[in-house]
């Protein structure tokens, strides 16, 4: 297809042939990403920028107090979740918002498709929604002959490039300016340029027409307020407002955990969300959707629907440790600060939600059979837990899922025990035996020291990048005995440098 075939205004969105990544292939995908200097550079630069912005915007805040408040608000909402969901439904319905319940992604897709079909809809414009990614809504609608076009700029680019988002807040963060220029040139016929304003303006023009002609708008929800039946939508581009107000039908889709109790719970969470996500004090748009167009009003949709999706969340809810996963407000700070995510990028994880939050959430959505490498893909450095605005103990939950994966947990996660191997169990049992038999430990470590010359210089992957550690000639246990025998005023015979070499 040449540039001439596509006029800027009317380019067709190609049928979704999404470039796929699979969590089962984490290792291969990580290898590919690590070998790709462009990916490495794009993520490093973007994550450094995001970390810096967050640090700056929180510098004059009592962050710990705010995080505590955020965690409490989310925890309180989860503690009352069944009641709040009923209250939300009642208040939404009273506002004229039709509420639908979906047990899984498939059911949610079906509900949305049927709502579209009931209106004879052929085109859907979408605001950003990770839940819709989670349930593969676009593919579903397209297979029913309904075109779904992403309107968030990053999502739009990713869709043009036939990819999936690599970050939950910045879907196209894996692309740099030149790559974006190429994609827009190839798919929409714009000039090749490094002029970001030109490209943004072109995308805006391309999308504007689609907002006007779309039959249905689909958006996500950041906070669903039970007390008032209000749907809050946080965004920067105005595409959320267009999506939810221009087409005759607005369908909001969200996970059941996004509910908060009261309107006054929103400002602290909003403050935490924007600062943690992009380092902004406020976003350009904050939408509060409280129903369809009323008789005297001139604009707004004729119908508003809310689709509440479970898709594995209620099983997380049953577990008093794992429930903390559901506090998440989807800011993405955990990925921005994750040294693993920064190196391998979002696609490597092969899941809708990448990075630390994805590694504790996706096993519940997909099962541990498919995601068994994700909980271990962390050095447990704690950076994610440190920045989480609602204080999700992500490292502890990663360890909990490691436990489940090797069959030493509660067994209530799908695929529990999938990583259990006789060899590894035997190794840890051996470690346990040695570490609980002190004289055997002392004997064993002493022998290892004596045989240090026999230590292999190659120790699997470790020594491809590092030298092999060699056991010291004399263990600490023995050094302490010698030290005691010599009395306490001795000077060490050899400096540590000499001893080691």
């Amino acid at each position: 297809m040449t540039a001439q075939d596509n006029s800027i205004q009317t380019h067709p969105v190609q049928r979704h042939v999404v470039q796929t990544y699979n969590p089962r292939d984490f290792h291969r995908q990580a290898h590919d990403a690590l070998e790709n200097p462009q990916i490495r550079a794009n993520f490093r630069k973007a994550m450094d920028g995001l970390m810096g912005k967050r640090r700056e915007v929180f510098s004059d805040w009592d962050l710990e107090t705010l995080r505590e408040l955020g965690a409490n608000i989310r925890q309180r909402a989860l503690a009352k979740l069944p009641d709040l969901l009923e209250q939300l439904e009642a208040n939404c319905e009273a506002n004229g918002i039709r509420v639908h319940w979906a047990e899984d992604g498939e059911e949610a897709c079906r509900i949305i498709r049927e709502l579209c079909e009931a209106r004879g809809a052929k085109s859907v414009i979408k605001g950003k929604s990770m839940v819709s990614e989670e349930m593969h809504l676009n593919e579903h609608l397209q297979s029913a002959g309904i075109e779904a076009l992403e309107s968030d700029l990053g999502e739009y680019l990713v869709q043009l490039n036939q990819q999936t988002p690599s970050h939950i807040i910045m879907p196209a963060i894996h692309l740099n300016t030149d790559e974006i220029s190429d994609i827009m040139h190839d798919k929409t016929g714009t000039e090749r340029t490094r002029d970001v304003d030109y490209m943004t303006a072109a995308a805006r023009q391309q999308l504007r027409e689609r907002f006007m002609s779309a039959d249905v708008g689909v958006s996500g929800v950041n906070f669903a307020v039970a007390e008032t039946g209000t749907l809050c939508l946080v965004e920067n581009e105005g595409n959320g407002r267009m999506t939810t107000s221009v087409p005759p039908v607005h369908i909001a889709v969200t996970g059941i955990e996004k509910v908060v109790e009261q309107l006054r719970d929103v400002p602290p969470l909003y403050a935490l969300l924007t600062r943690s996500a992009t380092g902004q004090h406020v976003t350009t748009y904050f939408n509060m959707i409280s129903g369809p167009r009323k008789p005297a009003e001139h604009d707004g949709p004729e119908e508003v629907h809310l689709v509440l999706v479970d898709n594995g969340r209620s099983s997380i809810y049953q577990d008093d440790e794992l429930i903390e996963t559901l506090r998440c407000i989807r800011c993405g700070a955990c990925m921005n600060h994750c040294p693993v995510y920064t190196r391998v990028g979002g696609h490597t994880y092969g899941t809708t939600y990448p990075g630390p939050i994805g590694s504790i959430l996706m096993p519940h959505l997909l099962g541990l059979e498919d995601t068994k490498d994700l909980p271990s893909a962390s050095s447990l450095c704690g950076a994610c837990g440190e920045v989480c605005p609602v204080k999700i103990p992500i490292p502890d939950l990663l360890v909990r899922l490691r436990r489940e994966a090797v069959g030493e947990g509660r067994g209530n996660v799908r695929g529990a025990g999938v990583k259990r191997s006789k060899r590894e169990v035997a190794a840890w049992k051996g470690f346990q035996w040695l570490a609980t038999h002190p004289s055997a430990w002392r004997g064993g470590t002493a022998v290892a020291g004596k045989l240090r010359a026999l230590t292999p210089s190659r120790l699997g992957p470790w020594t491809e990048y590092r030298t092999a550690p060699k056991p010291a000639k004399v263990t600490l246990h023995s050094l302490v005995k010698r030290h005691r025998a010599k009395g306490k005023s001795i000077t060490p015979q050899a400096s540590s440098e000499e001893e080691r070499s």
């Binding site: 990580a30 040294p339 590092r466 060490p492």
Partner: protein, 251 residues
Amino acid sequence: MTPVKLYPPKPDKVYLFGTCLIDMFYPEAGLDAMQLLEREGIEVLFPDDQTCCGQPAYTSGYQSEARAVAAAQLGLFPEPWPIIVPSGSCGGMMRTHYPPLFAGTEQEALANEVAGRIYELTEFLVHVCHLRLDDRGPPEKVAMHTSCSARREMGLAETGPTLLASLGQVQLVEQVRAAECCGFGGTFAVRHPEVSAAMVEDKTVAIERAGAERFVTSDCGCLMNIGGRFEHQQKAVKGEHIASYLWRRTS
């Protein structure tokens, strides 16, 4: 964020929990920690039956094995003396993970009691000993690598640098992204070797670019990882445990 800890006055005696990595690979760091404490007039008790805190099994998901190993350490510190651990990672395991690990077991109270007496070495030297150091070493540019466990789990980002800064001849240089993980992470380095390698590569480059002739750390896992990477590339930058570095320059 670790809650503000009220530090006790300097005790007459302490226990030293040497850690398995120090025991096997860096024993001089354990001895040097002991000598630093003894020079402050503290008697150091080294329970001979100590082995490992259990962390490797714990972070791999082998909870019952970890608990058994941890349980074997709990009885080694019967007197109410502080327990000094020359590692943020083992210290973090004992201070923050022992209580939940033993919750609901017969040893719960003992585990909580032991956890409450855990101090990382540099924490203890700074906040309890108020250590004063007389630097006798040559001028040197040094980078501190504070382990993630010391920094985040134990809230000790400052104690290592504070000690190094008090050495008159040492110029403390800061590498970019000093707070970022070196990529060790225990079994992480084995399960995800390529990602770990990318992380340690960045860390060594950062330390070298900062102009450091040496890096000092309070964790032997990081030492093995970063030092092993430097050595593999035959770089001049050497690594050392902070206990050894402090003792060597002031004894």
